[in-house]
Symmetry: C2
Subunit: 97 residues, 2 copies
Amino acid sequence: MALIDEGDAVRLANIFKTLSDPSRIRLISVLLDGEINVGSLAELVGISESAASHQLRTLRQMRLVSSRRQGRQIFYKLNDAHVADIFQRGLDHVRHD
Amino acid sequence: MALIDEGDAVRLANIFKTLSDPSRIRLISVLLDGEINVGSLAELVGISESAASHQLRTLRQMRLVSSRRQGRQIFYKLNDAHVADIFQRGLDHVRHD
DNA sequence: ATAAAATATGAACATATGAACATAAAAACA
DNA sequence: TGTTTTTATGTTCATATGTTCATATTTTAT
């Protein structure tokens, strides 16, 4: 392995930073089950739609999720297989061990 | 999967938060190669010893690393196989794809 | 056209965070 | 004991972050 360069370190740190908030964690945990619209997501996670929208923007900007409009709703889904992987490893770490 | 509870979400978020800083990322990347003392670590990563010590405390408090004293030096090592795993997945995500 | 529904955005606020600097503590050695 | 080396800790400061509230945007239905 050895020391990784500043650029990669910053990019890697940013990925983890995106995953470093409980609301975003819970949003992602729901998204692991598949596509879902903002309102349902907010209700399931137990945060306001505004808060959900803000956090989803963060996830979108980091390209961890993508969205599509259907009528007046917007459906989000996980965008990246790596994310599910990282998430699951982290959860293993937290839950047992 | 389904929604994870607040407690797990907070714990998981905290793990990722611990990994969300470039200095800590680079410290860990060096620690992946094995045990090493604070001074060498600081020099390799290119930060002050004080900064290294502060960041190592953060990693220690999250139990991601452990330390042992040998004479007047303190050697750190990664404490957890999960961490190396999560780190590697993240790096894969960042480097290619 | 107007109203209602769903989502996004912007501003403001409180809290958290990392960096830098100074100081303390622990161990080795004169 | 006193001094030096190595690491840890405390404090201060500037910046970043998440949430809330108010407002804007987009689509559907009347």
